[in-house]
Symmetry: C2
Subunit: 191 residues, 2 copies
């Protein structure tokens, strides 16, 4: 019921990429049609507005992130390992992050200036990370409230590193900051 046709999936995949690389407002239906190989008349059969299309894109990303977090939780045998895996995931996306920023963070920045409903959908993706990281910090023995503070601090530091690296187009900056974040992490996770 969610992915009725193949072209619907192609539209979502193209939109996901374009919204990320060029921004939501800055991506037109003409761009989407060209990228997806689907005439724009067809878009309104699947999504009755551009906002609804972004909703579907966020839904897809939400599902992907949730699946990835499940995998990590299953593979990491200690909370420390889980936290480090998060940082390593950011590292593995270095090139795209330097070129386009954080897919969730930059979208939140763009939507934050208007459009409360879509902003909530984007924040839901961020919440997945917050909750998963909070669980890891809790396992480390931090009381619940402080665990969430640490989770958001970790995310804030990652966001900041990405913003600066993106602003300066500086991949070394991102790598260096992520290393520093890892060092900070091992202080929070006494072995």
């Amino acid at each position: 019921m969610s992915d009725r046709t193949e072209s619907r999936g192609r539209i979502i995949a193209s939109a996901r990429r374009l919204f990320y690389e060029a921004g939501y407002e800055n991506t037109s239906y003409a761009d989407l049609a060209a990228a997806a190989g689907v005439p724009k008349g067809n878009f309104y059969y699947h999504f009755k507005s551009k906002d609804e299309l972004l909703g579907a894109v966020l839904e897809a990303r939400h599902a992907d992130v949730a699946a990835a977090l499940d995998t990590w939780a299953a593979q990491a045998r200690t909370p420390q390992e889980g936290l480090r895996r998060f940082v390593r995931m950011v590292m593995s996306e270095e090139e795209a992050l330097v070129a386009y920023g954080c897919p969730v963070g930059s979208l939140l920045t763009e939507l934050g200036k208007h459009r409360d409903d879509l902003r909530e959908a984007a924040r839901a993706v961020m919440d997945l990370y917050v909750e998963w990281l909070t669980a890891r910090f809790t396992e480390l023995g931090h009381p619940a409230r402080h665990a969430e503070v640490l989770a958001k601090r970790l995310l804030a530091r990652a966001q900041g590193a990405i913003v600066m690296a993106h602003a300066y187009g500086d991949q070394a900056l991102l790598r260096r900051e992520l290393k520093d974040i890892e060092a900070w992490l091992s202080e929070q996770a006494p072995t």
Copy 2:
């Protein structure tokens, strides 16, 4: 020569506010005309394109930041005091930062997806902070290269805190992170 007329200044002031609160691409000449009380036909007498208007806005912000940094440098009697003053400045802007994000950071995020020339003008404002903070860390005895790393790390942490606080509309988050940054700062600045 730079501010030939009063209406030119009104246009820049309005544009500066609207570009910040609503975003650059999302602010139309109709919006600007309504906010500045200047008919849009007049805009092209002062600025021959919207991009040039943004250039003037960035120039104004650049001048303001440079002036503020000069004042701080004169008032702060120790490098520690200067660094703390930077954090306090961010604190004093809490409400706007939570509502709209960082004026420089969010603009860099928006422009980073396209428009290389304007991105450079925005980055010039960020560079003012980088250079000023680098000078303070150098005064603390850090070698030049490491001082710049610390300056960018401080800015990255501030950016990240603002992005998260903006995403969640959470002023307490911003205040808490800034306090943590201050604590981190005093570790880098052994008295």
